[in-house]
C-alpha cells in the first residue's frame, strides 16, 4: 500500500499512540479535579500550551484546544465577531470550515468579500489591497492551500493589513502549513492561527487555535469554563498529549522540506510527456501536488490507482463529495481540467521507491484511461 493522501489525514505515530494510551489508562484523571494526580494533568496541559506557543513562535498569546480545526476556525471567526462588524475578508481558497462560515456571516447581513486567486493558487495581493479598507474588521486567509499547496505570504498580507486596516484582526488557517513550512507567528504578524493534530501524525479529534494577546474571543460553547472559559468541556487529555508527542516528532522542518521536495520533483519528472497541468506557484508547499489531466475524470484515476493499492484523492476530502472544485475554478481553470484533477499529498515517511512506482502507475493509468475513452 502506498499512501499519498497525507493532506487528508495521516497515520498516527506509534509514539503518539503510546502517549495516548498512557493518558487514557494510567493518567486518566480529569484536569479540573483538585487532588494531586489531577493537578499533574492540569500542569501537563499547561505545558502543552506553552509547547504550542513556542513552536508557533508566538509566546505571548493563548492556546485553546478544540475538537477539530473546523471548530477552531469557527471559533476564530464567530468568537471575535461583534455587532458593529461591517466587513470580513476571506479568500477564495479557504477551506470549507472558513468559507462556509463566511456564507453564514453573509446571511447575517455582514459584508463578506472573497479575495480572488492568482492562476498559481496564491491570493491576488493587489486585489487584497483593493478589497481591504477601514471598514474591514476581520481577515481570514489560509496559509497553505489544501488543494494546491500554494503558500500565501502571511507577512505580506499583514503589511497590507497594517496599511489599509490596522485594527482588523488577522486569522490564518495553518492546518496544511504547520510542521511542513516554517511558521513564526510573531514574524508573520498573525493574530490567530489554527493547527490540527491528525495532519501531523497525531490523533484525530484534537486541534487548537492560537489567539494573540489583546484578542478577546467570545465563547461558542458554554459549560464548566475550561480553556479559559472560551471552550467549555472536559479536555481531551489523551489526544492533547498525543498531539504534543506528534509535535515532538516533527524533526527538522527544513530538512524534511528538502526531502519531500525531492519526492515531489521525482513524481513530476516521471509524468513528463503526459497531458497534465501542474497547479503550483513558485512558492508552493512540496507536500501537495495538484495535477489536472486532460480529457478524463479525476475520480476514475483515483479508483484506478486504488486498484493498485495507491491512495490519492480528487481534492480535499472535505470537498470531494461535491461536484466540481470551487478552489480550482477560482484559479481560472477551465471545467474540463477541473474535472480531471487529482491531488497527491506526500509525507516525510514516503520513500523515493514509492514515489517512483506511484508516479509511473499514475501515468500508466492515465494512458490506459485516455486510450479506453478515445
Amino acid at each position: 500500500m502506498i499512501y499519498l493522501d497525507n493532506a487528508s489525514t495521516t497515520q498516527m505515530s506509534t509514539k503518539a499512540l503510546e502517549v495516548y494510551k498512557k493518558y487514557a489508562i494510567d493518567d486518566f484523571y480529569n484536569p479540573s479535579a483538585i487532588y494531586d494526580r489531577a493537578v499533574k494533568i492540569s500542569n501537563d496541559i499547561h505545558s502543552a500550551k506553552e509547547k504550542v506557543k513556542n513552536v508557533l513562535g508566538a509566546p505571548y498569546g493563548e492556546v485553546i484546544f478544540t475538537s477539530t480545526a473546523t471548530e477552531a476556525n469557527n471559533l476564530a471567526i464567530f468568537g471575535c465577531l461583534r455587532s458593529n462588524f461591517k466587513k470580513v475578508v476571506l479568500s477564495s481558497a479557504e477551506h470549507a470550515s472558513v468559507y462556509n462560515v463566511g456564507k453564514k456571516l453573509e446571511e447575517r447581513g455582514i459584508d463578506v468579500e472573497y479575495c480572488p486567486l492568482q492562476q498559481n493558487g496564491e491570493i491576488d495581493y493587489n486585489e487584497l489591497e483593493n478589497i481591504l479598507d477601514e471598514n474591514t474588521n476581520l481577515i481570514s486567509i489560509i496559509h497553505v492551500s489544501n488543494e494546491t499547496g500554494a503558500i500565501n505570504d502571511l507577512k505580506k498580507i499583514n503589511e497590507i493589513r497594517n496599511r489599509k486596516c490596522k485594527n482588523a484582526i488577522f486569522h490564518a488557517d495553518g492546518v496544511q502549513a504547520f510542521s511542513k513550512v516554517n511558521v513564526n507567528l510573531s514574524y508573520f504578524g498573525v493574530d490567530m492561527y489554527t493547527i490540527s493534530s491528525h495532519k501531523i501524525f497525531g490523533p484525530k479529534g484534537i486541534a487548537c487555535l492560537y489567539v494573540n494577546k489583546g484578542i478577546n474571543l467570545k465563547p461558542q460553547i458554554f459549560g464548566g469554563g475550561q480553556e479559559d472559559n472560551i471552550r467549555s468541556g472536559t479536555e481531551n487529555v489523551p489526544a492533547i498529549m498525543a498531539f504534543m508527542s506528534a509535535i515532538d516528532e516533527i524533526g527538522d522542518i527544513n530538512k524534511n522540506y528538502e526531502y519531500v521536495n525531492k519526492l515531489r520533483n521525482t513524481f513530476i519528472s516521471n509524468l513528463k510527456d503526459t497531458a497534465v497541468k501542474i497547479n503550483e506557484s513558485k512558492n508552493n508547499s512540496p507536500y501537495i501536488l495538484s495535477l489536472c489531466f486532460s480529457g478524463v475524470n479525476g475520480e476514475t484515476l483515483v479508483h484506478m490507482m486504488e486498484q493498485n493499492q495507491i491512495y490519492i484523492s480528487t481534492g480535499s476530502a472535505c470537498s470531494s463529495h461535491r461536484s466540481g472544485n470551487r478552489i480550482l475554478s477560482a484559479m481560472s481553470l477551465p471545467d474540463n481540467l477541473v474535472k480531471g484533477c487529482v491531488r497527491i499529498s506526500f509525507s516525510k515517511h514516503n520513500t523515493i521507491d514509492e514515489i517512483t512506482f506511484a508516479s509511473k502507475t499514475l501515468k500508466d493509468c492515465y494512458l490506459k484511461l485516455i486510450n479506453t475513452l478515445r
Binding site: E299, H303, M304, E306, H321, S323
Partner: protein, 384 residues
C-alpha cells in the same frame, strides 16, 4: 383494561377460497416483522389484535406494522369488558384534542342491550358534557371514537386510525429481480411491486473504477432501507465495466445506452433462471430519459423474452415518485451525488427511437455470450 393494537386487513377479503393462504402469510409476515419486540397476535371473531406488549415499545411496534404489506390500517384500542357502565366510564375520561368528533358503535355482539344508534347518541352526549368546545360532525369529523362490541365479551375503544402500507402480503406473488441503480426511481419501483406481494432480490450494475466504492455502498444502503418493507433482499453486485468498455470501443456511440440496457436485461434473465425469480422489475418511467421511450423499451424487451419486465412507475410523474421515495425513506440516500454506471460513457446524442435490427447489428460486433459469462462469474452476492 388492556391496551391492544387492532389490525385491519385490506383486499384479502376479496380473495374467496384463497383467503386462508393470504391470511396465513400475512400473519406470518406480521410475526416476522415484530420478532424483536415481545408481543402476541390474537384472533377473536375474525379480528386480529396485537396484545401483551410493553407499552414503552408501542410506537416501535406500530412503526413496524405500518410497513407490513396487506395491513390497511391499525388502531390503538383499550380492551374493556362489554359492560355499559365500564364503557361509559372509559369514554367519559377520554381526552379529545380536536374540534369535531363522532362516535361510531359496532355491535357485533347482538346480546348487548343497547342498540348501536342509541348507544352512539348516549356516548356522544357524555363526551360533549366533558368537552365544552367540542362539536359533533358526523361527516367531517376530526376524531372518530370507535366502539367495537365483540362477541368475545370485550369492547374495544379507539380514537385513532393509523394508515398502513396496504397492498398484498409479501411473497404471496412469488419473487422477482429488481434492477437497483442507486437513483430515486428503482427503490420506489421495488417498493411498489413488493406492495403487490412480490418478494425481492436485486441486481446492481457498477463500473469500478469509473464509479466509486461509495456508489456501491449507496446501493447497499438503499437495499437496506427496502428491507424495512421486504424483510430480506439478496443483492447481486455485477461488475459492468468491461461490457461498457467493449460497447464504447466497438459500437456506434448513440447506441451505448440501448445496448447497455439490453445487456442488463440479458444478465437479469440469467439470474432469474439461476435463482428461480419470476420477473424483472425496473424503475423505468415513460419519457423520463432517452432510454425510456416506447421504442427503447421495446428494443430492451426483446433482449430476453423468458421473463416479464414489470415497470411499476411507468405512468408516474417524477414528483409522485419523489414523494414515495421520501415516504419510504430512500430519497435522502438516492440523491447522494455519486456517479452510477449509466452516466459513464454517456453519449452526447443517445438514440431516442432505436430500431431493433440496427441495435442487433451493432450488438453483434461484440462477443455477447462471453461478456455476459464473464460478468456473471464476477458477481458478488450480498444478503441484506
Amino acid at each position: 383494561m388492556n391496551n391492544v393494537i387492532l389490525l385491519r386487513f385490506g383486499e384479502l377479503y376479496l380473495k374467496g377460497k384463497n383467503r386462508g393462504y393470504f391470511e396465513k402469510t400475512l400473519i406470518s409476515n406480521i410475526k416476522n416483522s415484530l420478532k424483536t419486540l415481545p408481543c402476541m397476535i390474537e384472533k377473536s371473531n375474525g379480528r386480529y389484535f396485537i396484545t401483551h406488549y410493553d407499552e414503552m415499545q408501542e410506537m416501535q411496534i406500530i412503526d413496524k406494522l405500518t410497513k407490513v404489506f396487506g395491513l390497511v390500517s391499525l388502531s390503538r384500542a383499550a380492551e374493556i369488558p362489554s359492560d355499559i357502565d365500564k364503557i361509559i366510564n372509559y369514554v367519559s375520561i377520554l381526552s379529545i384534542n380536536s374540534k369535531t368528533f363522532r362516535v361510531s358503535v359496532n355491535r357485533a355482539d347482538k346480546n348487548f342491550p343497547i342498540k348501536s344508534n342509541d348507544f352512539e347518541k348516549q356516548l356522544g352526549s357524555i363526551i360533549l358534557k366533558k368537552n365544552k368546545d367540542l362539536k359533533v360532525d358526523l361527516k367531517n369529523f376530526e376524531t372518530e371514537v370507535m366502539v367495537d362490541i365483540r362477541e368475545n365479551g370485550n369492547t374495544y375503544i379507539s380514537t385513532d386510525k393509523i394508515s398502513c402500507a396496504g397492498g398484498m402480503p409479501l411473497s404471496t406473488a412469488g419473487k422477482g429481480l429488481l434492477l437497483l441503480s442507486g437513483g430515486i426511481d428503482s427503490p420506489v419501483a421495488g417498493y411498489m411491486i413488493a406492495r403487490r406481494g412480490l418478494s425481492l432480490s436485486a441486481v446492481h450494475f457498477y463500473s469500478f473504477p469509473y464509479t466509486s466504492e461509495q456508489a456501491k455502498q449507496k446501493v447497499i444502503t438503499l437495499a437496506n432501507k427496502l428491507t424495512d418493507y421486504v424483510d430480506h433482499i439478496t443483492l447481486y453486485m455485477c461488475k459492468f465495466t468491461h461490457i461498457q468498455e467493449e460497447i464504447h470501443k466497438h459500437c456506434s456511440p448513440e447506441y451505448m445506452i440501448t445496448i447497455m440496457r439490453r445487456f442488463m436485461m440479458k444478465i437479469a434473465a440469467k439470474l432469474c433462471k439461476q435463482y428461480n425469480l419470476k420477473a424483472i422489475i425496473t424503475g423505468e418511467n415513460l419519457g423520463q430519459v432517452a432510454s425510456q421511450t416506447i421504442e427503447s423499451m421495446t428494443v430492451t424487451n426483446f433482449a430476453q423474452t423468458e421473463f416479464p419486465i414489470f415497470r411499476p412507475l411507468i405512468g408516474f410523474d417524477k414528483q409522485d415518485i419523489t414523494s414515495i421515495a421520501e415516504k419510504i425513506g430512500t430519497l435522502e440516500t438516492s440523491i447522494l451525488p455519486y456517479e452510477d454506471c449509466c452516466t459513464v460513457f454517456l453519449p452526447k446524442n443517445p438514440i431516442i427511437k432505436p430500431k431493433l435490427d440496427k441495435v442487433v447489428y451493432e450488438e453483434n460486433k461484440l462477443d455477447i455470450d462471453s461478456l455476459i459469462d464473464e460478468a456473471l462469474k464476477q458477481i458478488e452476492i450480498l444478503e441484506i
